[in-house]
């Protein structure tokens, strides 16, 4: 429809009806589950499954939030998740950047090391979780923050390394070489020239790592118990033999979205800024 719209109408920037319709459908498709989740989180328990459905509760309530955060220890899970995910993200971005730089600039380990790094993700997690569990029990990392931070760092590192590897590979060497000739040590050239230029890539890798950690369920389920449990593991309590706690589940899901969205909004500015390799060529 857009294609046949008369030129004059286009000039006035009126949006064709077809496009509005399409975007409308898409918006509903994306937002409907979120709306329903929020709706459920503030509904009284009796309204969960009524026919016809309650589109908006007449008496919204926060009891599910209270129960999810305190009775079911959702708040502890949230705090644990924040500590563990942020720590693992920072470690993964830091180590990933260093390793990727080394691989990209020094060809460390030849062709094979970089591939070996990626190959760590070829194994389904279930293949290693039992040995890891046994090791963790032996060395005292079971149900500790440190234990899960280590696991998540290892788990996210391959993707971080590969994202940063591609980024550094695409960056011309000459700027770092100019820095070396200008008077920098190898480390200064990395820190003062390569890292600032790679910032958008580092941020992107960090966002990926954070989301992976934040939503991880399986390792957390096996490797933690009553101390270092994370937010996703709390959800398992909502499905009991006496029925499902829909309201509590929805409330906790809403809470768990907040950090992800905040991070997305923060990081977007950096991501959109994108490559600033304007110094090269014309």
């Amino acid at each position: 429809m857009a294609a046949v719209a008369p030129a004059r109408r286009r000039k006035r920037r009126s949006i064709p009806f077809g496009r509005i319709l399409l975007l409308g459908f898409f918006l509903i498709f994306v937002l409907w589950p979120l709306y329903w989740m929020f709706n459920t989180s503030i509904k009284p328990s009796d309204d969960y499954l009524t026919v016809p459905p309650v589109w908006f509760p007449s008496a919204p309530t926060l009891v599910h939030y209270k129960a999810a955060l305190f009775t079911y220890r959702g708040l502890d899970g949230l705090i644990n998740s924040l500590i563990i995910s942020l720590s693992a993200t920072v470690l993964s971005a830091l180590l990933g950047t260093l390793m990727a730089y080394s691989l990209a600039r020094y060809n460390t380990g030849g062709q094979h090391l970089s591939f070996w790094v990626l190959s760590q993700r070829f194994l389904p997690p279930i293949g290693i979780v039992l040995p890891v569990f046994l090791i963790y029990r032996q060395v005292g990392l079971y149900d500790t923050h440190v234990g899960l931070i280590i696991a998540y760092t290892v788990f996210t590192l391959p993707v971080s390394v590969w994202m940063m590897f591609a980024y550094f590979r695409g960056m011309p060497k000459s700027m770092e070489e100019a820095a070396l000739v200008d008077g920098c040590t190898r480390w200064e050239a990395f820190w003062r020239v390569a890292v600032p230029l790679a910032a958008p890539g580092i941020v992107a890798a960090a966002v990926f790592a954070f989301i992976a950690c934040w939503t991880e369920f399986f390792f957390a389920l096996i490797l933690t118990s009553r101390t270092a449990f994370t937010l996703p593991t709390v959800f398992r309590a909502f499905i009991g033999f006496q029925g499902a706690q829909y309201g509590e589940a929805a409330a906790l899901a809403i809470v768990s979205l907040v950090p992800s969205i905040a991070l997305g909004v923060l990081a977007q500015r950096h991501l959109v800024r994108g490559l600033t390799l304007g110094a090269v060529r014309g």
């Binding site: 000459s174 820095a179 000739v181």
Partner: protein, 364 residues
């Protein structure tokens, strides 16, 4: 300011032998141009001087000191890169002052020197901008500013003009030459462009396949090329090469083309040459002119020519004709010839001609 002395330099990348034994002395304050076709090792040689490439064998001395194991920062050289290599996340002022800051110079002095360099290059109004906001020529100036602000012992240029359009290239070429006249620091400049080499250099080092083919002043190389490679590389349009044999009888020598006998200018040294030796006669287009007067002057060989192809450039006309069956291009005055098919007498200046052994392609 410093001289550079390179002895027995080799550079290998795995099995690839990029630089194969270079000996080179560059005098203090000299403008040396390393020139050659791509892949001849000229950039590699430059990068080994900067310390960006380790060398496999040999020594590099700067100012009388062997710098083989020196880090780039400790060699006190500055380099201008082909892609300018400006730091995109820093302003022009920060870019220029970066090297000084990295060397822990006091802030006030950095500012003074950046200001001076910017004034010298006419980029003062750009100091607050970022590289992405600059044109190619402006970026080039910033890159040069970053080099001169440090007042290094040696300037290295790695094809600095190859990303600029033709007009800007001519302009910047002039500026680099002027810069050298003003600050008289040793400069080593890599290019594949023979015009840049000829116009800028005090000395040209012409490289091929990792070795030096010939070095000397631009006119040395232009007028007395050591090989057909050098002769063909310098000069545009290219030198004409004609296959023939040497005819020696006593002290008189001539070159026999298929149906012509061209006398070699008397007094020319042909030691070691033999009668009947296969040679290549090298004639530059500008050494052929439209004949004037009754008789050719001393050292000239006159020949009637029918022009096949005419390429006027305005100031000159490139005329192609056949000399003893082989196509030859001459650079004539614009009005010497008006259309293809025209016949006219051409004087060939045999005293300027080059003669090469056909087999070794080295000059006789």
């Amino acid at each position: 300011m410093a001289e550079v002395k390179i002895t027995g330099l080799h550079k290998r990348y795995g099995t690839f032998h990029a630089v194969r034994g270079i000996d080179l002395d560059i005098r203090d304050g000299e403008f040396t141009v390393l020139v050659g076709p791509s892949g001849c090792g000229k950039s590699t040689l430059l990068r080994t001087i900067a310390g960006l490439e380790e060398i496999s064998e040999g020594t590099i001395e700067i100012g009388g000191e062997v710098v083989n194991d020196f880090r780039p920062r400790d060699r006190d050289v500055a380099m201008v890169f082909q892609d300018y290599a400006l730091y995109p996340h820093m302003t022009v002022a920060k870019n220029i002052g970066f090297g000084l800051k990295a060397r822990k110079m006091p802030k006030a002095e950095v500012e003074t020197r950046v200001g001076e360099a910017a004034r010298m290059l006419g980029i003062t109004p750009l100091l607050g901008r970022f590289p992405r906001q600059l044109s190619g020529g402006q970026r080039q100036r910033v890159a040069i500013g970053r080099a001169i602000v440090r007042n290094p012992r040696i300037f290295l240029f790695d094809e600095p003009l190859s990303n600029l359009d033709a007009q800007l290239r001519d302009e910047m070429r002039g500026e680099i030459k002027r810069l050298h006249q003003d600050i008289a620091t040793t400069m080593i400049y890599v290019t594949h462009d023979q015009i840049e080499a000829m116009t800028l250099a005090d000395r040209i080092v012409l490289m091929r396949d990792g070795v030096i083919e010939q070095q000397g002043t631009p006119l040395d190389l232009f007028e007395r090329p050591a090989s057909t490679f050098v002769a063909g590389f310098l000069g545009s349009p290219r030198m004409n090469f004609l296959a023939g044999t040497l005819a020696l009888s006593g002290s008189v020598a001539a070159i026999r083309l298929s149906d012509l006998l061209l006398p070699v200018a008397p007094g020319r040294n042909l030691d070691g040459a033999t009668d009947g030796q296969a040679v290549l006669l090298g004639l530059r287009p500008e050494h052929m002119t439209r004949a004037r007067g009754e008789k050719p002057a001393e050292g000239m060989f006159r020949q009637e020519a029918t022009i096949d192809l005419l390429q006027p450039t305005g100031s000159r006309s490139y005329a192609t004709f056949r000399l003893s069956g082989a196509p030859v291009m001459a650079e004539l005055q614009a009005h010497d010839v008006s259309r293809p098919g025209e016949s006219l007498p051409i004087d060939i200046n045999m005293s300027r001609a080059s003669i090469f052994d056909a087999l070794s392609e080295r000059a006789l």
